[in-house]
Structure formats: C-alpha cells, structure tokens
C-alpha cells in the first residue's frame, strides 16, 4: 500500500445542458441582434420607462409592453469592474474580462455587457461606448462581442 498520508481528490463535472424558448419579447430582441445588428428597447405606455433588455410587463406598473424602440446602441458606463480570475463558464479571459453596466441612449435601464479594446484604467463612469457585433451571430446576447469606447 502506498503512502498512508495520500488523500485522494475526486474530480467530477456536473453537466446540466438546457434550452428554453426565448418567447416573443426576448425572441424579438435577440433576432434583431442576429439579423439587423440592432439593439431594441421596449417602452411602457403608462410610465414611459424604456427597458433594455426588453420585458413583457412593466416592472413598476405591470402594464403589458409592446411598443418597441430602436436604440442607437451607444451608451455611457454607469459602473464597471474587471474580473481577474478564471472559470470555465466565463465569456472572456481574465486579462480582457471587463464588465460594465451601460446606460444606453434612449433607455432607462442599465445593460450589463463586456467592454473590450481598452484597458481598465482608461475607463471611467461616463465613458461613452458603442457596440461591436460579431460577424457570425446566433441570436444571443454575445452576438454583441463587446462594447468599446467611442474614439474621436
């Protein structure tokens, strides 16, 4: 018998692949990313709040939402951070993994997404960003590869 002190470690991978139907509201938003490279918001007829990503009912007044708004895609950083550790589920490598909450022009809610083509210390709250779309898009939020600072 080998060294009694040896403690073994069990390595396992729990996998729960699942699919769910996006539904008519998220579906339209994702299809617009995929087919038109456009970011759509949805507006509440009662309180005027424009939601992005869009939702079926207003969070404030519960009105049914169906008034779509095409947004420019540009927006300002409300907050940001860099994630500097690695997990298999992360969408980016630690050196380039900057997440921001972005207030898109024409929208009232913040959109969380990646920020690329820039170093963390060049960013600040209020930095103006624009989306960069992938060439091959599937109808998912990462059809937007990341947002990058608008450079004059």
């Amino acid at each position: 018998m080998k060294a009694e002190q040896e403690i073994l470690v069990s390595h396992q991978v729990l996998q729960v692949p699942f699919n769910y139907s996006a539904g008519p509201v998220a579906g339209k938003f994702l299809a617009a990313l995929r087919d038109e490279k456009k970011i759509l918001g949805i507006k509440c007829p009662k309180c005027g709040i424009v939601y992005v990503p869009p939702r079926g009912n207003c969070g404030k007044c519960l009105s049914s939402l169906k008034d779509w708004v095409e947004l420019s895609g540009r927006g300002k950083i409300q907050s940001f951070t860099r994630i500097n550790y690695q997990e298999p589920t992360h969408p980016a490598h630690p050196e380039q993994f900057i997440l921001a909450v972005i207030k898109l022009e024409g929208a009232d809610t913040g959109l969380t997404h990646l920020v690329g083509e820039v170093l963390e210390d060049e960013l600040e709250v209020g930095t103006l960003l624009e989306p960069v779309f992938r060439d091959y898009r599937k109808g998912e939020i990462l059809d937007i590869r990341y947002f990058r600072p608008v450079r004059k």
């Binding site: 073994l8 390595h11 991978v13 008519p24 579906g27 298999p88």
Partner: protein, 158 residues
C-alpha cells in the same frame, strides 16, 4: 418598426451549457478504499464496533449506532447480485463528462462479508440474462486512478 414578427422568433431557443466542474476530498476513509482499488484491486469495508456491520463503500461513522467505525475488513472479491436494472435512458455521467452508452446493466451487489451493497455497472445488458441471487465478481481496468470507475463492471461468476 414593423409589427410583423418573423416566424422563427417564437422558436428562438436560448441554450445554456451549464458545466459545473467540482472537486472534493475523498477523506481518509474514502482514500484508503480507493487506494486499495487502485493498488491492490481489493475491496475493504469498514466495521462498526457496536453493531458489527461492515460498510462498503466504507463510512467513518455507523449510521444507526453513531459509533465511529474502527476496523478495515477485506470483503469480496465476489458477491451476490441483489437487484438490477437495464438502463435505456442516457445521461451525462458526472464521472466522465460523457453520455453513458445505452443500454447498460446496473445493479446492487452485496460483496461477501459485507453488510451493505455497492452499486455499479454490470457486464450484461439483457434483463433476461440477469437474476437476483447471481454470483458476481468485479472486473478491474488495467489503468486505475483511485476512483469507483477503476472497476469496469461486475460480471457473472462462471
């Protein structure tokens, strides 16, 4: 903005890979058991000093008595098939990360001198060829790593 929705929008699916790799320590009792599989191709059970039950897989504490188990007892290598099934539904095996090839036989085997049962794959995947009470023995893999999958499966004793 057009009111018409394209037909494929309603069918758009969001898919999530959702992989959760995890590691956990087998502990001293578990490590002893797995090392014996890996290095000696032997099964060891753990005995309760109070009720005398031999647990396999081994437990550091006896469930009914709450007494710490204190003795290793070699069990097997053969045992009795106490229950079995043939599985036709494949799922992602957390030990391998791959789908289990179906159909496969799976059963509970009470190894000689043990009081609890070990569950594992069976070499037979036809229910008509399996019978409660059959004597079984473990077939070990050539390459063993100190895991339950060091046992390839249990096969009927000829």
């Amino acid at each position: 903005m057009t009111e018409q929705t394209k037909p494929e929008i309603g069918l758009l699916e969001i898919s999530s890979p959702a992989n959760f790799p995890y590691n956990y320590s087998c502990g001293r009792v578990g490590s002893f058991f797995f090392k014996a599989l890996r290095d000696e191709k032997k099964f060891y059970g753990r005995k309760c000093p109070q009720c005398g039950k031999v647990y396999i897989p081994p437990r550091p504490v006896c469930g009914p008595c709450f007494a710490p188990t204190n003795e290793w007892v070699e069990v097997g290598p053969q045992g009795v098939l106490e229950c079995f099934t043939v599985v036709s539904f494949s799922f992602l095996d957390p030990m391998t990360g791959k789908k289990r090839p179906v159909p496969y036989g799976y059963g509970l085997i009470k190894l000689d001198r043990a009081d609890s049962r070990i569950q594992h794959f069976l070499s037979v995947n036809e229910a008509s060829q399996l019978r409660v009470g059959m004597r079984m023995e473990a077939v070990f893999n050539e390459v063993r790593e100190g895991k339950l999958s060091d046992i390839k499966w249990f096969k009927p004793v000829e």
